[in-house]
């Protein structure tokens, strides 16, 4: 059983590169190999000119990693977590404290500085952990779902902090996500992973061009689909059903016809809601043969 197989990626300096895929696609394995936490059975990992397979200990001196787990920091205060992490990145006391203060201020965490991390809300906790990834500057940030549970204000703080570092210092970011909306808005390029393989790698716009000829139609029925309407019954074969919701990817003229059908006559009385949208990365993922359960739109 291979977690990842034949993955070949080149991330450019200064870009925000995303790994998109549902849980179990192999994103975490790839990240563990990149951060020196796991040695790949075969292949090479090179970061900014350093061979991480031969020298895994160098990874910690090139990159900052924000994992999904915060149990090492949970019982510390926000301030001490950031300061300790800075010290462990080799900063001397005074600089560690100065960086701690600057980063907490930048992320709007100063008011929470003396609170233990585990007493914060999920989003605040995540933001505090993100702060520990920023202290003691590194040219590469590896962020594993950094914005999980965050409110829009916190999300904005994260992406402004990332953008600032990119503009001022050319920081490279590798972002692991299963959130398609975030992937579309913040990434320069994205690799789509499915079952341990890269099934596509391009800019979000480039990927979406692959399904540019299609329109996504979502229909939500009040109770059940009116299958006695022949046009609706015909659509069923092409729909992905999840509860009362049908998702269809159709050519524009088909989509127009479908909308005309469901917004008139017997079908309309059974309809709760419908949306018509240009394709998202989720549709790309589906079109590429991915298994969509596990991707999140938020």
């Amino acid at each position: 059983m291979k977690a990842t197989d034949g993955v070949d990626l080149d991330i450019r300096r200064g870009e925000i590169f995303g790994l998109l895929g549902p849980n179990g696609a192999g994103k975490s394995t790839l990240v563990r190999q990149l951060t020196g936490l796991m040695r790949p059975d075969r292949g090479s990992v090179e970061i900014l000119g350093h061979d991480i397979v031969c020298h895994p200990e160098r990874a910690a001196r090139i990159l900052a990693y924000l994992g999904q787990e915060s149990s090492a920091l949970d019982e510390l205060t926000v301030s001490l977590a950031a300061e300790t992490t800075a010290r462990l990145r080799g900063l001397e006391v005074r600089r560690a404290r100065a960086e701690r203060d600057a980063v907490l201020e930048e992320l709007g965490l100063t008011a929470l500085a003396s609170r233990p991390i585990r007493k914060l809300s999920g989003g605040q906790r995540r933001l505090a952990c993100f702060a520990t990834a920023l202290v003691g500057e590194r040219p590469l940030l590896v962020l594993d779902e950094p914005t999980t549970g965050m409110d829009p204000v916190a999300r904005r703080a994260v992406w402004s902090a990332v953008d600032r570092r990119r503009a001022e210092r050319g920081t490279t970011v590798l972002l692991v996500t299963h959130n398609v909306i975030e992937a579309e808005t913040v990434l320069d390029r994205v690799a789509v992973l499915d079952r341990g393989r890269v099934i596509a790698c391009d800019t979000p716009a480039g990927l979406k061009e692959q399904v540019a000829g299609e329109v996504r139609v979502e229909l939500v029925w009040r109770e059940s689909a009116p299958l006695h309407v022949p046009e609706v019954a015909a659509l069923r074969d092409r729909a992905v059903e999840s509860g009362r919701k049908w998702t269809l990817r159709l050519a524009p003229e088909e989509a127009r016809a479908a909308v005309a059908t469901v917004t008139g006559g017997a079908a309309f009385t059974a309809l709760d809601d419908f949306t018509l949208a240009t394709p998202s990365l989720e549709d790309v993922y589906l079109a590429l043969g991915g298994n969509v359960t596990g991707l999140v739109k938020a």
Partner: protein, 275 residues
């Protein structure tokens, strides 16, 4: 996977080969040195122990005080009283340094929390020694309270309690190293907890009960337990004219076991951090 400068990437396939990339190698960030990193870990661990472990420290102290009160009915002074007070005091160290540290590292390892340390340029020894040191320090108040209470209860002299300044760090090192190794080597966190509990129970039964009433096999087990030497060293100082050579001899055994167990724990950390 590799990260190469943008300017060399699109032009030609050759640009991806090693030579040009190597020329552009990024400067490595500083490495955290052993001592400052150890101090940083120690401080952080002590603060989390303060936040999360104070109730448990009370439990440890009450347990030892309770045992001494119970044994008061059985033991009536002399060598046995010294053994009970010394054993109950060192039991506090075993409770926190061995049992709680085994649980901590077991849970940290199982939850993936070790990744945080493993992706920082910090020497493994700093993480293990910092945590072990913090847990050992955390036993100080409980051990002192137990020892003073025991001396008053059994009418033992308080004059040589200063020896705790050696007993706590040395027995603490030996037991914390053992606890850390248990936590980091146990394949499951429940097993780490179990090993920690068993270690503490051994320290309780073999340390507190007077040795001369034990059968030969149990006495042999007692000799294998590092906390025994802390107990013996401490118990000797209650005598009218302590033989300091034996006291320091026992403490030297603690120190030796401490060095070995902390080295094993450091090795176990390294092994657990990179899976």
């Amino acid at each position: 996977m590799s990260v190469v400068p943008a300017e060399v990437l699109p032009s030609s396939a050759r640009a991806l080969e090693k030579a040009p990339a190597r020329r552009a190698s990024a400067e490595l960030g500083p490495r955290a040195r052993l001592w400052p990193a150890l101090v940083a870990v120690y401080r952080a661990q002590l603060s989390r122990a303060r936040v999360a472990r104070i109730p448990l420290l009370f439990v440890a102290t009450f347990q030892s005080v309770g045992i001494m009160i119970l044994m008061r009915g059985v033991v009536d002074g002399g060598g046995e009283a010294r053994a009970v007070v010394a054993g109950a005091s060192v039991l506090v160290v075993a409770f926190v340094a061995l049992n709680l540290l085994a649980q901590y590292f077991g849970q940290l390892r199982a939850s993936g929390g070790l990744d945080h340390y493993a992706t920082l340029p910090v020497p493994p020894a700093a993480v293990v020694l910092g945590a072990a040191g913090a847990y050992a320090s955390f036993t100080v108040p409980g051990t002192l309270v137990t020892a003073v209470f025991g001396c008053l209860l059994y009418g033992l002299p308080l004059a040589h309690l200063w020896v705790l300044a050696l007993v706590i760090p040395l027995a603490g090192a030996a037991l914390a190293g053992l606890g850390a190794a248990f936590g980091l080597l146990a394949p499951r966190p429940e097993l780490a907890t179990l090993l920690g509990q068993l270690g503490m129970s051994a320290a309780l039964l073999l340390g507190v009960l007077p040795a001369d009433r034990m059968p030969g096999v149990v006495r042999f087990a007692r000799d294998l337990l590092p906390s025994t030497y802390g107990v013996e060293a401490f118990a000797r100082t209650f005598g009218p004219d302590p033989d300091w050579a034996f006291v320091f001899g026992d403490l030297a055994v603690c120190a030796g076991v401490g060095v070995v167990s902390l080295a094993v724990a450091t090795w176990a950390y390294r092994r657990a951090a990179v899976r």
